[in-house]
Assembly symmetry: D3
Homo-oligomer: 254 residues x 6
């Protein structure tokens, strides 16, 4: 079930069966000469929506599409929240969902740069309960799609060299599969981009002049993207089924 394509009465009925929700989360940031600006949030959304098809009681919320991408601001089209803003926004999303009775909020993340801020946001939410000495009643999960079962092995097998860590051929393959009309081609020099530290945006562009980090994105293909989506979606579906089953056991979250 896709939350934003449902009515509130359908969500009310869902909550009687499952108190788990998946929120795709990513970033809107440059992805090198051939990667889409939406790559990170699109990948999370694509996988979550694919997994939803055919799953039982898997609910997917709207995509949190702009994340923490300050280091990419030197490239046009990047949109970033400050970490402090993102913590507040996540707090409000989580508080809204918790108010309805959701107990497990599973963020399927598509952007490595979001990780510290998402984790800090979880602690911010938990701290509210901890300072008052009461339970939050919440299980907050951060899961990067590239760490879903089978994904990393498949990517390493396909791209033994030049995978890199940003604008990489895995994520670009996924968007090519889902948005075939938006497949871009452009030269990349050198073929494998340099790697380096991440500091502010001016510094980042000095070190990574075309935006790539250690990657050769020209290896991407929509066919491989389709395979990645399939593996990732299956793994996600399994994880949500397990969470639903755990919640249904007697004594869970009591």
């Amino acid at each position: 079930m896709i939350l934003h394509l449902s009515t509130w009465t359908e969500i009310e009925a869902h909550l009687a069966r499952s108190r788990v929700i998946v929120i795709p989360i990513g970033s809107n940031e440059q992805h090198g000469p051939t990667g889409l600006l939406g790559t990170d949030w699109l990948c999370a959304e694509i996988i979550a929506h694919r997994a939803e098809v055919g799953s039982i009681d898997m609910l997917v919320g709207p995509t949190f599409n702009v994340g923490m991408a300050q280091h990419h601001l030197g490239f046009p089209g990047t949109i970033s929240l400050r970490p402090s803003t993102m913590i507040l926004a996540l707090r409000d999303w989580i508080s809204s969902l918790a108010a309805h009775g959701f107990e497990t909020i599973y963020f399927l993340n598509g952007h490595g740069g979001n990780i510290p801020t998402i984790e800090a946001a979880f602690s911010e939410v938990f701290a509210e309960a901890s300072f008052r000495g009461c339970r939050s009643g919440l299980d907050l999960i951060l899961r990067n799609w590239w760490q879903l079962a089978g994904v990393d092995a498949l990517a390493r097998q396909q791209f033994p060299v030049g995978h890199g860590s940003h604008a990489d051929p895995s994520e670009i393959s996924i968007t090519q599969a889902a948005y075939p009309q938006s497949i871009k081609s452009a030269p990349c020099h050198p073929p494998i981009a340099p790697s380096g530290a991440v500091r502010d945006a001016v510094d980042f562009r000095d070190i990574h002049p075309d935006g790539r980090m250690g990657s050769d994105p020209l290896q991407a293909s929509p066919d491989f993207g389709e395979r990645l989506i399939g593996v990732a979606a299956q793994a996600l579906s399994n994880e949500i089924a397990a969470l639903n089953a755990a919640q249904a056991r007697p004594g869970a979250n009591s």
Copy 2:
């Protein structure tokens, strides 16, 4: 051009021609027994994406999909930002776009409840410049899709009674046209919902027990939605063309 389906080099090239961007903005909130939770952000997104097709130099950014919907939190599935959070998030979106050279940021809004907070956010951004005595260089525009040329007249003609102000047949028609597989049916009693004040969420649900405000959404139809989308998209396209033309005139923003 859709920003998140473009590369940074494409946006760089766009900026040489136009410094205008459209951001669809809405809310993820209950829309009565038959309206989708995503109605408000979907409507803005649908119209903007339709307008983009065939327009010259119209750039559409990612959708700001969760807005200020505190009064709907009594209905499952609603997700809301506090006004203070939304001001910070909008400040960061605007600052990101301004850093790339965008001068006109046009928010196509789908949720009446967002209006004060968006306007306050604009003032927050302008105040930063005003306290320092320097120019922001920005033109920030808030435009509700139902106020685009021709839209209101068409809606009033179609729905002389029972249009209402929330979960109304216009917005539901638009999502029915765009998401025909998500057309919902449910009884609505009374046919035209009561109207009333908007305060906190518990109070709101007391006054508006099924979430509608003054509306009879069962009048909605995908065909009418298609007509509304067409009129709204054309008007939006015209407005963006005019903004581009104004920017291109000698002396503009100098």
Copy 3:
């Protein structure tokens, strides 16, 4: 009763009869060549204090005298809060009054530029209750004095041309009536000022070089001000009496 000229025991007694309070709110900002910097907060205060005389159980609190006027900061004497600051300040005023048992807080506003921020502040207060799923118990009302019954008609009749929207002859007439020793005279060229967009303060002064927006304030007169005050004060008094009566009805706010 004027709150700041009362003792706490008098307010305690008032609360047993009425849980309504009026807060005049405005802005301290330039009002063109002849308008007082305090015009916006003075107008709200003048009308509220006039209404209080002779009313039964009408309580007027201190005036919130500095509001959101960032666009006027290019003119000496303007003092502005950022929207984010004003939201916090209003939250604290409202929370203080709510702690004493006031249930209806009626802001009589004298500045159009305050409207979005005041409404965002109301939502901020309501959101605190909504996220917790409990009632705020509050009715927060924003009322612009120029929308009180009879005021607009009188102003349009008196000033068929050149009323404008800032530094207008209505508001200046009111301060002339109340502060006859502070009536200013200065030339205004052109007689009717230009209108235009509101962005940052430097931009605002470019477009509105003497601070007026579309107005011909030299039409103002203390006599007309006296008439406006009378009409507005009577309408305000009626509204507060109605709110008191509503509260006194069985079942109100229960």
Copy 4:
């Protein structure tokens, strides 16, 4: 000159002669059985406005009328800002005035409980400059009216016992002189109120059941208030004249 009864052009002209401004600041809080809720801000305003009459180049801004009074929230009518809110509000007032070229902002304070927060706000403003390594160009002065030359001696002579520190006969005398129609009478038991620590509002009311702190306010009289106002206003006038003279000296603030 009273800023809110002046035009922006008059303030512009004033700035060519003097870059000093006085801001009365106080609190709106209970003042025992006979003291007005506005006592603290009224006293500062009364003295500043009296001093302004006859002074040369003394400019008085609007009154900051709601301050830090959390400990009085147990008594109806008290309105308080949190310290964090008040710091932001003062920052915005100061930034507004600094943007116009004011260099000396002199807060004439009427509430002891404001002192830490005002001083913290000054440091907050200075810190902005200090972290950037540049000058603020500002002299921020906090002056309590009871510390103006001659005031304390006069009060001690008049009230050798029972002056106390809150709802005291000095401040009540001042408001009696200025608002003779609002002189209140009520019994006070015991005649001299207990003193004690200041913590939260519930605790405060336990210790100070009628709101007084160590005072016997029934000693107040409008005649003595008039004398106090005269002494305080003269001292204030002298201080502002000295600040103006210092600024006019060659090399000042260069």
Copy 5:
């Protein structure tokens, strides 16, 4: 007992006997040509730790070592919090301790510049309770070590001239006694430093070019420091014993 050298079970046992804790608090800021950057927090820590030895049920927490020192930022090595940051940090420290059942939190302060911000932080904490109309259950104490019984008299006797108010021979003597290997020598011209106002950091360094304020720190000696530590530690020990005794009385904090 030193909290950070104890286990949580030891603190749990302590709480059964005493709900008082001492937090040394200071600043890390320049202290003239011969004073250590840590002087202010070291002095508070040295005295608290000395007092702890031999006291019964005196618990000392970790030292809050970076405070409000914006005016010293013109001198290398100074680290400062903004007042707004320090208020939040103190709120979190206090909330943590309150969650464990501590009722009296006694800040032994070593930096005059911290005083307003600490007091504002106390009010911020109390305000949370006051706005909700409930008790905080907290007694928050700010005590400057130089105001402990006997300390000021001893210092004045030892340094009849040239004590000054920053980088003074008392505080430097204390660090010399505790850190004899870090005794510094450097010329000081003039022997007694100038005094003056405290504004921003650039201004401060103009007025106080070597960082001293009115002091002749070359009078400092480790022997005198030892005497000061002894007197201060004894007074502190007595104060904590009195607080413990008060808490143990029937009806205390009930």
Copy 6:
């Protein structure tokens, strides 16, 4: 050189040679039945101070001793900052040091729970520069002491089973070596503690009833602590020497 035992003139001289500074950072939180509440900040401080002895141009600042420990608040003695507070505090520390010309700020961290918040704080600082399109000039490094060269291998060799992840025998050994008078003994049942998720404080204590996470701290010994300190301090010294050398190369940070 220890910053807080130095004068500002010594730091000024240091900056001419090196623009690197080490800040020990940790947390003040429960560490099981035998671990000290200060373990995390003490370990970082102990290693940094040991490394400083004998190093050339290694500067160690004051210890950031209270970090993000919300999940431990169920155990007495824990003190925690909210993530949002810690971000602001770190921003102020970093801004202070940057204002003096430090370019490399190396946080030697002793608490895993701090990692996301410290990284978010770095991004918050960098974002300020990135939104303005200018360089921060800063290299911000987060280094956990247990990841210094040689440390992990030594710990795994010593504790093949029961190392765990909190209140572990490595960190406790270090504090035993440095604070031999504070070595604690207490039974631990079961010998190896359970592991589990980290959510809020009530939940944490349910899962980890004596505070340990997967560890058998009774294996700790001061002798082993001494070995760990030696290895870690040497590795830290080497890293700082390398950073100094890199900075000294022509073109560095230009």
